[in-house]
């Protein structure tokens, strides 16, 4: 087993804390889960545990940010998106405050805790807030780059993480070039028959789907979309113009997330293309082991390959 993304995140945040004294970290009584606890132990004077109070959490961060600090806010993704929406919109985004909002346990990754804890609308909500950028890293390397980027941005950023072990994309696809902007789509695999645009944990699945499609004689192009907002529409359009088909894959409701963002953007470009969205249908999910839960709700390499084959 490799390291979980939350562990990589927590350790990296603590590392950054040692070199940047403008970073302050806040948590809503879940620091042992989000792993902001590493920072808390290393820098207790710059750590604030506000208890189970996400609204207060986000606004205290806003106040800290007005005075030049760089707050990193930690909570479960679903509660950050639902319980501090007003604060994120009216205080952080409206005032362009440089706060990093880190949503832990994104998607179905809090699998056993059930539907109440599974975050399937956070991307849709965050995407609709002006000025907020939405990043969903697919592995630990992307998480680090996304965090670096968000900490240097003069505005709020939502960083959606997973609870579990994250794949290591570098092993299969090589190192991400250091100069590549985190907001730009990374083409992981070239192809000509169908484009698979994936985000977060679905990126590795898309890679596996492309391999299985290749064995069926279908050439799939795999796009790694870390930044859902802003969306790198140019790179997406170049790929879809070439293949004519798009499958999006995300650990989120099919409403309002990556699939919606791609459909909106490409429709306005006037490209002729057909499309399928892999994601959770408009329904409530349930408890269960992570992989089986993902599969039951239609998120797997097989599901991606199936949808791609139906188009290509």
């Amino acid at each position: 087993m490799g390291e979980t993304m939350r562990d990589s995140y927590g350790k990296y945040l603590a590392q950054l804390g040692a070199v940047r004294n403008d970073i302050v970290v806040l948590d809503a009584d879940v620091s042992s889960s989000t792993k902001s606890i590493y920072f808390a132990k290393a820098f207790p004077d710059r750590f604030f545990n506000v208890g189970v109070a996400e609204a207060n959490l986000a606004d205290i961060a806003g106040g800290l940010a007005t005075a030049g600090l760089r707050p990193v806010v930690n909570a479960f993704a679903i509660f950050l998106a639902l319980k501090s929406t007003d604060q994120i919109r009216n205080v952080l985004a409206y005032n362009e405050l440089p706060v990093v909002l880190v949503g832990a346990y994104g998607g179905l990754s809090d699998s056993f805790d059930g539907a109440s804890h599974q975050s399937l609308a956070d991307i849709a909500i965050m995407r609709a807030i002006p000025g907020l950028e939405v990043l969903v890293p697919a592995d630990a390397d992307e998480m680090k780059r996304a965090l670096d980027y968000a900490l240097d941005r003069n505005g709020p950023t939502y960083l959606r993480l997973t609870r579990n072990e994250a794949p290591n994309l570098s092993e299969k696809f090589g190192e991400r070039s250091a100069g590549l902007d985190i907001r730009k789509i990374r083409v992981l695999r070239q192809g000509s028959d169908v484009t698979i645009a994936a985000t977060g944990m679905c990126v590795a699945m898309a890679g596996r789907a492309a391999e299985s499609l290749a064995s069926q004689g279908i050439s799939a192009e795999v796009l790694d979309v870390t930044s859902i907002k802003p969306l790198d529409i140019d790179s997406l359009a170049i790929s879809v113009a070439k293949t004519g088909h798009l499958v999006t894959a995300e650990e989120h409701s099919v409403i309002g997330g990556l699939g919606s963002a791609c459909a909106e953007a490409l429709a306005e470009r006037g490209l002729p293309f057909s499309m399928r969205r892999v994601g959770v249908a408009d329904c409530f999910t349930e408890s269960g082991p992570y992989d089986r839960l993902l599969a039951k709700y239609g998120i797997s390499a097989e599901a991606i390959a199936r949808q791609a084959a139906s188009l290509a």
Partner: protein
């Protein structure tokens, strides 16, 4: 010297209180005029807090209108952001921007938004409007002072309606935990909300006891927030109080200064019609003249 300069420079406390009173009376007239002219905006809660905000900006706060972003300035958060016209009037006459702009309140392209916006209006330390945010943001600002080893003060003004919001109590609880130096909440308890009296809509009494139970340093007296002598007395009491965070509850009158508008929830945010304006104006003028006579 104009009234503003006299109020800022006067050292005798009795005279200063009278100058601030006259200034507040003048601001109240100006607020009513703009709200009537624009046919939009909130009178009731602007009027109730007029003396308090005047005293903060012309007596209490360490600020430099020429440098609104000064790191060491005292901060003010108007959590009851609907009293925006009061804040704008005070900021303009304190020198943050031209009073000529006040007439553009709520216009398209104006820097004076319906509710305060820190990105558009010099001197506004935090955008507000959605209720319940102020104390939380104030906790953050005050904690930043601790981290940066600065001694600026953070004042948060809330209405009792603002305290209906659950977030206010999350913030109150967290302030008692972190005890940020320099955080003071001023409650403009005018007792009337949008829909009716606070006793009808959401009873908040005993407010002082609630703050006390949440671990705040509550000034033992409830002050008359429309009386400048009492406001200055409350500031002195704040200076004597040692532990943080601090809260002062002020009893105020919603719609203060216009007899037929006082204590009426209908004047929370209703446009001021011509007839009401013509009746209200002489009342405010009379109060201003009386206050001016005291400082001649």
């Amino acid at each position: 010297m104009n009234l503003e300069q006299r109020a800022l420079t006067e050292t005798d406390k009795v005279k200063k209180s009278k100058l601030l009173t006259a200034l507040a009376c003048r601001f109240r007239m100006e607020i009513l005029e703009v709200l009537h002219a624009k046919q939009t905006g909130h009178w009731g809660g602007a009027s109730s807090a007029c003396e308090l905000v005047t005293a903060l900006y012309f007596h209490r706060m360490r600020i430099d209108p020429a440098h609104p972003e000064w790191d060491d300035r005292d901060r003010f958060i108007l959590s009851k952001g609907h009293a925006s016209m009061l804040l704008y009037t005070v900021l303009a006459h304190r020198g943050y921007f031209s009073p000529a702009l006040l007439g553009t309140f709520r216009d398209i392209d104006s820097s004076l938004q319906g509710h305060p916006c820190m990105k558009k209006t010099p001197g506004v330390d935090m955008s507000t409007g959605a209720l319940g945010h102020g104390i939380s943001v104030g906790v953050g600002m005050a904690l930043a002072a601790r981290i940066h080893r600065k001694d600026y003060q953070t004042y948060v003004m809330v209405g009792e309606g603002c305290l209906d919001e659950g977030q206010s109590w999350e913030a109150i609880m967290s302030a008692a935990k972190f005890k940020p130096e320099g955080l003071t909440v001023l409650v403009d308890n005018n007792g009337v909300q949008l829909d009716g009296t606070s006793d009808e809509i959401m009873p908040i009494s005993p407010l002082e006891d609630k703050f006390q139970a949440f671990g705040w340093n509550v000034l033992p007296k409830t002050y008359d927030g429309n009386n400048m002598d009492e406001i200055l007395e409350s500031f002195d009491a704040l200076d004597r109080a040692t532990s943080w965070p601090k809260v002062v509850v002020y009893r105020t009158v919603k719609g203060k200064g216009v007899s037929f508008m006082e204590g009426k929830n209908t004047w929370h945010g209703a446009p001021i019609d011509d007839t009401s304006f013509e009746l209200a104006k002489p009342e405010l003028e009379k109060a201003y003249k009386r206050a001016l006579a005291e400082v001649r």
